[in-house]
């Protein structure tokens, strides 16, 4: 056995160049797999975090009746005692912040064109603790400070955005449709809580660009404004909960499920949906994306496997007479198979280790520096997916170990095929082979 090992190892070392070139194929395959997986996981994480920070929060609480009709944003089913719910959630160590929101359907008009709009009434003190919309707002996000500064005065218009009577923050997609700038006014109409129609002029104090179509097509008001405009009387149709940050998405999902379960258990009229349930479409897409990634990697590794088959096959053909001698000396068939298979394994192990090291190196760069989407030439590459800016990788030791094991496994399987071919020959056939 030791001799078989020694012969195999020395044969690999004897044909260094051949072995090295094959190992490089393996290395590239494995490194690409690790980096690609890291990037995909990074994009997933970023997307999920953006989903949580911009629209879904970690979980949303509604009344059961509201959820049944949520598609039309009814103002009929408010949470009876939001303060009590918030207080109860405040004692849960998993909960970081809670805010209240009320969504409604309205219409925006500049007296020429009319567009339907989803209105979101927010609590300006609590909302920034759950959502990070202010970060993406040009102008002001109801005092939470926009991209332009906190003093309230917009540099381009000179309007003090904090002091307007009917402030509204618009998603930039909506604003563009009406060609609105900060300080401009727009007519908003909606049905009030008591089903009468109301309309009023609002001043745009913030323009929100979050690249999330749901956010960029919404209009935001505060309860202070909406209580008058919609006769809300502080009606709260949903509560948004932000949980403590976890590095692991699966852990975040488990946390959200646990809090959702406790909400449901504490009040039978309430229900809760986690970000995973709210973003089901994206999570489904994530699964598909993962399958595609895996298929791509399989193809890359298959190419590497062909390289291994070729290397071992060349080795077999170059040494068929040697096989004859070994068999004449008493080598058994399985020892011949093992000898050539070991050669493939050596190349595979070497290639896989190099691939893992290179992959880890690339991964480090992806994690620390990332790839700006502008690198791909167009920042709209995200095409409606909730990520933008710079794509970062994620450390996943499991992937590196998987790639290593998988690489060695592929190399072994690839080497066994020609090795068996060599072992099948009789000693005389092998010795006669020219």
């Amino acid at each position: 056995m030791k001799e078989v090992f020694r012969i195999a190892l020395r044969n690999v070392l004897r044909h260094k160049r051949r072995a090295f070139i094959t190992a490089i194929t393996m290395m590239v395959g494995i490194a690409l797999f690790i980096s690609f997986d890291s990037l995909m996981a990074g994009v997933d994480r970023m997307s999920i975090e953006n989903m949580i920070n911009l629209s879904h929060s970690s979980l949303k609480i509604f009344t059961k009746d509201y959820l049944a009709e949520r598609d039309v944003y009814p103002l009929d089913y408010g949470i009876a005692d939001p303060q009590a719910v918030a207080k109860r959630l405040g004692t849960d160590p998993l909960v970081k912040a809670v805010t209240t929101r009320t969504e409604f359907l309205g219409q925006l008009s500049d007296y020429r064109n009319v567009l339907p709009v989803r209105g979101i009434v927010i609590n300006p003190e609590q909302d920034p603790k759950v959502f990070t919309l202010a970060k993406y707002t040009q102008g002001s996000f109801f005092g939470a400070g926009g991209a332009d500064g906190a003093d309230g005065t917009d540099a381009s218009t000179g309007v003090n955005l904090e002091e307007v009577s009917n402030p509204i923050v618009l998603g930039s997609t909506l604003a563009q449709k009406f060609d609105l700038k900060l300080g401009d006014t727009i007519l908003l109409s909606a049905r009030t809580r008591y089903d009468s129609q109301n309309a009023d002029e609002f001043t745009v104090i913030g323009l929100l660009t979050a690249f999330d179509p749901a956010v960029d097509n919404s209009a935001f008001l505060t309860y202070a404004t909406a209580n008058q405009f919609l006769d809300l009387e502080n009606l709260v149709t949903e509560m948004d909960v932000k949980l403590v940050h976890r590095l692991n998405i699966d852990q975040t999902v488990r946390d959200a499920n646990a809090v959702a379960a406790s909400v449901k258990a504490s009040d039978p009229t309430l229900t809760a949906q986690t970000f995973k349930e709210l973003g089901r479409a994206y999570f489904d897409l994530m699964g598909t994306k993962r399958s595609i990634t895996l298929a791509m990697v399989m193809i890359i590794l298959l190419i590497a496997a062909v390289g291994i088959v070729n290397t071992v096959l060349m080795s077999v053909y170059a040494r068929i007479r040697e096989v004859g001698v070994l068999k004449a000396l008493g080598f058994r068939r399985r020892e011949v198979v093992w000898m050539f298979t070991l050669e493939g394994i050596f190349v595979g192990v070497f290639g896989s280790i190099m691939g893992a090291v290179l992959g880890a190196g690339l991964n480090y760069l992806l994690i620390t520096r990332g790839i700006p989407l502008s690198f791909f030439g167009d920042s709209s590459i995200a095409a409606g997916l909730p990520f933008w800016g710079t794509m970062y990788g994620v450390w996943n030791p499991g992937t590196i170990i998987f790639a290593l094991v998988f690489g060695v496994l592929i190399a072994t399987v690839a080497a066994i095929i020609p090795a068996r071919k060599a072992a099948k020959m009789t000693a005389t056939d092998a010795l006669r082979f020219v």
């Binding site: 030791k2 001799e3 020694r6 012969i7 020395r10 044969n11 070392l13 004897r14 007479r321 040697e322 004859g324 001698v325 070994l326 004449a328 000396l329 008493g330 080598f331 058994r332 009789t426 000693a427 005389t428 010795l431």
Partner: protein, 236 residues
């Protein structure tokens, strides 16, 4: 004393594509223990086939091969492997050393395969035989660093290291110049005398034949002449 090897009516037919080639057409041959036998004949006469059958690398289509009173044709695959491993060694025309092993490692290889010897015992026996073939100084060299004659010496050492009863050598001097060829045959002769090893070797070379105790001439798969040393001396 009964001969160590007895072949009776051995035929070997190879099936090549759609035609069959009869390499041996009924060989009767007996070889005494400790003999130094040369099998001569033109290319394609059946020399290598005969050696392969004696060495159990190939099976006869017909006829019987008895080794030390035992019929090889009745042995199982496993018994044949044991017989080959314990009694027979091979020397090849193109030496066929394992290129990635040193001289001493090549010589140790048959013992390694047998797994019966300790590391120390293997090294001692290998060193002894490597010295005996005159390559003591080159024990740690690789085959690529040796001349053809030296490589064949290693092959002989490898064949002899387990003290086999029979050594089969297929054209052992074909790739060597006449001087080296003679040295190699003299080495086999010396080993034959000192160890009483039976050598059966095939050759074209008349110089080499002179050293044999017996020369068996084979042509078209049949033995055409079988001369003992004494007869040949008379003929000369």
């Amino acid at each position: 004393m009964e001969p160590i090897l007895i072949l009776k009516g051995v035929r070997k037919v190879y099936q090549k594509a759609e035609r069959s080639v009869e390499a041996l057409r009924g060989i009767d041959l007996s070889i005494d223990r400790g003999a130094l036998v040369a099998v001569v004949g033109p290319s394609g006469s059946g020399k290598t086939t005969l050696l392969n059958i004696i060495g159990c690398l190939d099976l006869p289509t017909e006829g019987s091969v008895r080794y030390d009173g035992r019929e090889l044709g009745r042995m199982s695959e496993k018994e044949l492997a044991v017989y080959r491993k314990e009694n027979i060694s091979f020397i090849f025309q193109s030496y066929n050393l394992i290129p990635v092993l040193t001289v001493i490692e090549n010589v140790e290889l048959p013992m390694v395969i047998e797994r019966r010897y300790s590391r120390k015992e293997m090294r001692e026996r290998a060193s002894e035989i490597v010295d005996a073939v005159g390559l003591g100084e080159m024990a740690d060299r690789f085959p690529r660093e040796l001349s053809g004659g030296q490589e064949q010496r290693v092959a002989i050492a490898r064949a002899l290291v387990k003290n086999p009863i029979v050594v089969l050598a297929d054209e052992p001097t074909a790739n060597l110049d006449s001087h080296t060829a003679e040295e190699i045959v003299e080495l086999m002769e010396r080993m034959n005398e000192t160890r009483n090893t039976t050598f059966v070797f095939s050759t074209h070379d008349s110089l080499v034949q002179r050293h044999a105790h017996r020369v068996v001439t084979i042509r078209d798969g049949l033995i055409r002449a079988d001369e003992a040393e004494v007869d040949r001396r008379i003929n000369v």
